[in-house]
C-alpha cells in the first residue's frame, strides 16, 4: 500500500543517544495533507529529535519515518518535496539573507528570483542584502521560513516557528500556515506555545518523555470536554436537583462545581426550577493547555 503524497508516517521510531538516553521511544503517528498538525510536548520531550529523524539528519536506533512513503534520504527532489525550518541559528553569519536563499535555489535548480520572492513573502525585502549576523531572532525565523517554502514543497515541517516572533508576526504566521494547509499541503508545527497551536491546528500529536501521549484532531480531543462551571452558595441543593440527571459533577472549590453533560441553559433552568441561587453559570470551553498538563504532568 502506498502512502498518499505528502503524508508523514512515523512508525515505531526509537532514538537512544549515547547508549542510555532514550530521546524518542517507540513513537508512531501520522500527519495528513491538507491540515495543520501541532507537535506538542514539554522541552526535552523529543520533538526536535523526532523531526530530525523524519528529515534524515538523525539516524533512528530503530523504526522508520517516511514522507509520501519514502524515507527522506531517498526523496528525488527534497527541496521541492519537503520544506523544513529547524532552528534559527543555522545561517552563515557573514552571508546575506538573499545569498543564503540563492545558494538553496542553485542546489534545487530553482530560478534565482525565487529567493527575492520569498524574502518579499516573509517581509525581509529590506534586509535582503544584509548579513545574517545582524538579524534579530524574529528575522532569522522569517528567513528560515523563506528557506522552507522556497521549493513550494508539499510538506512543511517547522520547529518552534513562533519563537522570537512578535505578536504581529505570530498572527501573520498563523495566517500563512492556514493558507498552506488550505492549498492541500501537509503542515507539521512543533511548539510549546499551546495557545498558538490550539488556535491554528486541526490535529495535535502530544509527546512526553519521547513517548506518544495522545494524537487526534482538536475536535476529537475536545469532544465531551465542554463543561459548565456552576457557582452557588447552596451546592447541596444543586446536587439534589441534579440527582438522576445524566451528568457528571466534579467539585472545583467549596462554592463551585464543574458539570458535564448538560448545557448552561439546561442547568440554569434546572436551578431556577429548584429555587437554587446561582452566582456563576459559565461555559468552560475545551482547553488544550489543561489537557496538555493533565496528560504530561506526573509522568
Amino acid at each position: 500500500m502506498s502512502a498518499p503524497g505528502g503524508q508523514i508516517v512515523v512508525d515505531d521510531l526509537t532514538k537512544v543517544f549515547g547508549g542510555n538516553v532514550r530521546a524518542v521511544d517507540q513513537l508512531s503517528f501520522s500527519v495528513e495533507p491538507g491540515s495543520i498538525t501541532g507537535f506538542l510536548g514539554p522541552n526535552g520531550a523529543g520533538k526536535t529529535t523526532t523531526l530530525r529523524m523524519v528529515l534524515g539528519l538523525v539516524r533512528p536506533t530503530s523504526g522508520r519515518a517516511t514522507i509520501g512513503g519514502v524515507p527522506y534520504r531517498q526523496l528525488p527532489n527534497p527541496t521541492q518535496t519537503v520544506g523544513a525550518a529547524l532552528e534559527s541559528a543555522s545561517f552563515h553569519p557573514a552571508r546575506t539573507a538573499r545569498n543564503h536563499l540563492r545558494i538553496m535555489c542553485t542546489v534545487a535548480d530553482l530560478p534565482m528570483q525565487r529567493a527575492d520572492e520569498m524574502l518579499d513573502l516573509v517581509g525581509l525585502h529590506d534586509a535582503a542584502r544584509r548579513k545574517v549576523r545582524g538579524f534579530s531572532m524574529g528575522m532569522r525565523q522569517r528567513l528560515s521560513l523563506a528557506a522552507a517554502l522556497l521549493g513550494e514543497p508539499q510538506v512543511v515541517v517547522l520547529d518552534e516557528p513562533a519563537n522570537g516572533l512578535d505578536p504581529d508576526g505570530i498572527r501573520w504566521l498563523r495566517g500563512l500556515l492556514r493558507h498552506l494547509a488550505e492549498q492541500g499541503r501537509t503542515v507539521l508545527v512543533s511548539s510549546h506555545q499551546l495557545n498558538e497551536v490550539e488556535e491554528v491546528a486541526d490535529r495535535v500529536v502530544i509527546l512526553n518523555h519521547g513517548r506518544l501521549v495522545r494524537a487526534g484532531s482538536i475536535a476529537e480531543l475536545s469532544a465531551g470536554t465542554d463543561s459548565v462551571l456552576v457557582r452557588s452558595p447552596n451546592l447541596q441543593a444543586l446536587h439534589t436537583a441534579l440527582t438522576g440527571q445524566p451528568v457528571t459533577v466534579e467539585p472545583v472549590d467549596p462554592t463551585a462545581v464543574r458539570v458535564r453533560g448538560m448545557s448552561a441553559a439546561q442547568l440554569g433552568n434546572l436551578a431556577f426550577t429548584a429555587g437554587v441561587e446561582l452566582h456563576e453559570l459559565s461555559l468552560q470551553r475545551f482547553d488544550l493547555e489543561e489537557l496538555f498538563f493533565s496528560l504530561t504532568s506526573g509522568q
Binding site: G56, L57, L75, P78, T79, A84, A89, S90, H92, R95
Partner: protein, 249 residues
Amino acid sequence: MIPVVRAEFLKLRTTQVWLWMLALAVIAGSLIVVGGLASDSVHTPRDVPDVFANANGTLLTAFVLGVLGITTEFRHQTITTTLLQTPSRWAVVAAKLFTYALVGLLYAAACAAVQLAIAVPWLSAKRIDFTLSDPDVGRAVFGPLLLFALFALIGIGVGALIRNQIVALVSGLVFILVINNIIPAIPVVKNSYAYTPAGAVTEILFPAHESTPGDVHLIGSGGGVLVLLAWALIPALIGAGYSMNRDIT
C-alpha cells in the same frame, strides 16, 4: 551533481574567506620569491627553480581553505540546510572535492602569475637567462598548480573526517608543519617520509635535490601525486561514509 557544485562555488563566493586566503597566498609567495631574488644565492639559471619552489609553504592556504570549506558548515550549522537539500553525503563531499580542487588550481595560477611578473624582469636585469620550458623551472612554477589542488582536497578530506573546525585545523597544521618534518630525523620511521604530504611535496618540487631532509628514500614525483591523492581521498571517503552520517543535532 552540477547544481551542487555550482552551489559550492556560490557558497565560497558569498563570504570573504577565499579572498583573504588568496591574498595571503599571493603576498606570502611573492615575498618569498622577492627574498630569494634579493638574496645572494641566485647567480645562474640552475638557481632559478628553487626561487619558485621555496614558496611552497603557501600550499597551506589551500589546505586551510579546504578545511574551512567543510567545517564552517558544521560550525554554523549550515550543514543542516546542505544535507536537507542534498541528502547524499557522498554527493556533498564529491562536490566540495571538485570545487576546492579547482579553486586550489586558481589560487596557484594567481600565485604563479604574480611571482612570474616579479621574477621575469628581475632575473633579466640580473642577466640570468631562464625559460619556462626548462623542465626544472616548469616544475617549480607549475607544479604548485597540482599541489594547491591536492592540498585543497586534503583539507576537504580532513574536514569531512573530523567535522570540528578547530580540531581539524590545529591537528592538520600541527601534523604538516611539525610532525611531518620530524619524521626524517627519526631512524625507525624516516623511510615513511616519502608517503607523507611533506615528502610528496619534496618529491614533486625538489626532485633528486641535494637538500632532501635526512637523506631519506623517495619515490618520484608521480608517486608523490599518488601519495597526496591518497591523503585526500582516504579521509574524504571515511568522512562521507561515516563522519558525515553521524547525527546532525
